[in-house]
Amino acid sequence: MDQDSGVASGGSFISLNEHEQRYYSGLHSLCQADTSGNLSSGRVAELFKASQLPPGSLHKVTEVCGAKRLGYFGVPQFYVALKLLAAAQAGLPIRLESVTANLPLPRFAELKNEPEMWHSAGPPITESQGGQSGTAPGSVSWAPSDRSTFRHPEVSLEKKESWCPLRSPSSSPPPSPLTYCSYLYSKQRNGADSQITYEGKPSSQPMSQLEQHSSPSNYRTKPTVEHLTAAGASSAEQLEQQGVVDYSDDDPWRITEEQLEYYTNQFKSLQPDLGALILGGVAKNFFTKSKLPIPELSHIWELSDVDRDGALTFFEFCIAFHLIVARKNGYPLPESLPRTLRPEFMQQDESVPETPESVEHLIVFEDAEVRPSQMDQGIIKRIQPSYSTTKQDLKEESCRQDASLKRVTTSQEKRTLQLDAFPRRPEPPQELEPQMRTRTRPRSYSSTSVEDAMKKAEEPPTPPPRPQKTHSRASSLDLNKLLQQGAPGVKSGWLPPPPALPPRPSTSQVPHFINTPEKIPLNKVQQPNFADFSLFKEEEENNVKSEERGLHRFSPSTEDSPNTSKQDVISVHHNQAPQKPIRKKYHAESQNQDAIPPPAVSHPPTAKPAPKLLSRQRREIQMAIRKNKETNAVLTRLNSELQQQLKVRLSSRRFAYAAIAMCTHSGVLTYLGFVTT
């Protein structure tokens, strides 16, 4: 015998199917393995004897499996031995090669202890006769109750499940053992079948093999398994169900990746900003479409709205959607949120909300202006996860991503990346990227914050199209609008947001502008780009990167160049700096933001009369940013808004700019130009 091979194979070449594994582990526990995993030889011997094989075979089995050589039965040896026993019972020679065969489970007659394992065997006994024994060999029921050891020939499918109900004492007289066995067998088989079906394992195979083997090797053939089968099946199924339930607990209540992606898309269709909430009314209309009864929907809402605010965050939305999906597929609604649904998301959820806040801080810190986190979030959403190591790249990507995101088709990854990036904003985008990437989709929320952060650091890609410096809500709304408009322009113009852009207030303005770029039509983008570009060239000071950005922006949006006032705009940007930088950051991360920046751009300038020197630098940066933003999107809106705002603000400074402001982008430029001059 190849004891060595046997031993080696103990773990290597033995492939146990599900039933075998269960059975064997049951037997293993039955044999009371000691701490080292070795089985007590006494119990093993007992088990072997129960297999009703001649002692010679048993010795051979022991030899082959390697236990003899080792002197004890380790787990691999035990399993090999079991397989060999099965082979022997099936009539195959006891050799290692036999182990690889697909054997039925070894049959052991009347193992006293088999507690839960042999449950299957027990109960059906009473029924016996019935026979549907699909399989010729009756199933040997372990049930301790049946001391009808004659079972031994039967194969007892070891269903670990405790088919307690099946354990009816086997007081049946000998004749019935056959039926009993068959019953058990069928029962087990059925159970196995159901189990298998549940697990997707072809139980038929072992069953068939059992039949085959059992028939020839059975001392008695138990033809009547039918009725047993019936009873067994039900019990087996119950057991299966139990086991299945646990198993299914994870499955239906765990959201898979595809599901998550789908949910995200749905969420975006309702609310493009992943970080925002879906209002109750909106959610109601949406979920009502699922045709579930209202009370159930109400219950689902109760389960999923964990913070009880009457609105759904992204995670809550996923939870609700998942529950609806589960319900539609027939799963009963749980009374409380399943653990796999809730804690996971809660964890992620926690991370998400944190990031925006952190972003906020970052923004404030860098830009000295608080850009509405919402805006950031919006930007983040748009931001694509694919950050390049540099912030600029990130911004670019984000901008592009934003544009795509706006379409609501953005990949979640992007979002995630963006989200991840968001919290890290202050840090180099590169850091954000890896972090974001590591995050799973649900993290997208946080990534947006990271992206935002990044954007700010680099230079807010597109200042939120907020007309004024009102950060927070206003900008976010603008962003949304901008985003929705699409950010075609962003991509074109605003490439790598100037990471170097210092988080000056001016830059904040720019980012604002940049944020909106998603949808900023090229034209508009061009204008700002143009403006930025020109300004940047003129300045060529600190914003090397902004230059790059501006160039990027510029190219796509050369149209707007008429902004002689670009400089003015830039200067205006400076004024708006506090907002812009933040925006820029977003922009960098998500080009979509470009759309927003324009308004922001206009906004800041009027608001702040930054010092000339700083403003110049800011202008450069801002210009680049603004350009990008504009290119991205929303220029139209932003422009109008900015124009209005600019007019209002500029009127205080220079009324002339207001006229320039007529041009979407140009308005800002002119203002900046003025400031510079």
């Binding site: 959610a283 109400s298 219950h299 809402w301 109760e302 009880r308 605010d309 009457g310």
Partner: protein, 139 residues
């Protein structure tokens, strides 16, 4: 431990009534209904300053030989009525207040549910759970 808990809408029709099943429900319905008059009277006398929890809690509306009725009104004129057994003297005012607070919180959760139309009877399992927790745990 309450014997009966009721939520009355602003228009004085019940949104939710739940009593200990051993007793005659009708009796409790009647009791709650009559308590509404007392609530109205108290509300009118309490004053205009709203928002103060103390004023939301109306206290003992009226005792009868069998039980005591406590009232609580929200800012939207939704009334909560708790009927407790008179023999249950261990219940202090604070406990009643906390019961009302819990009821109110649970009620707001129900209201936040977009699938719930204000004015409809309350059919929330969570709300039922809260109420069950407060009812007398008798078979």
């Amino acid at each position: 431990m309450a014997v009966c808990i009721a939520v009355i809408a602003k228009e004085n029709y019940p949104l939710y009534i739940r009593s200990v099943p051993t007793q005659n429900k009708l009796k409790f319905h009647y009791t709650v209904h009559t308590s509404l008059d007392v609530v109205e009277e108290k509300v009118s006398t309490v004053g205009k300053s709203l928002g103060d929890q103390r004023e939301l809690y109306l206290g003992l509306l009226y005792p009868t030989e069998d039980y005591k009725v406590y009232g609580y009104v929200t800012n939207s004129k939704v009334k909560f009525v708790i009927v407790v057994d008179s023999s249950n003297t261990s219940l202090r005012d604070n406990e009643i207040r906390s019961m009302f607070r819990k009821l109110h919180n649970s009620f707001t959760d129900v209201m936040c549910n977009p699938f719930h139309n204000p004015g409809d009877p309350i059919q929330s399992k969570a709300f039922d759970g809260i109420v069950s927790g407060m009812m007398v745990q008798t078979g």
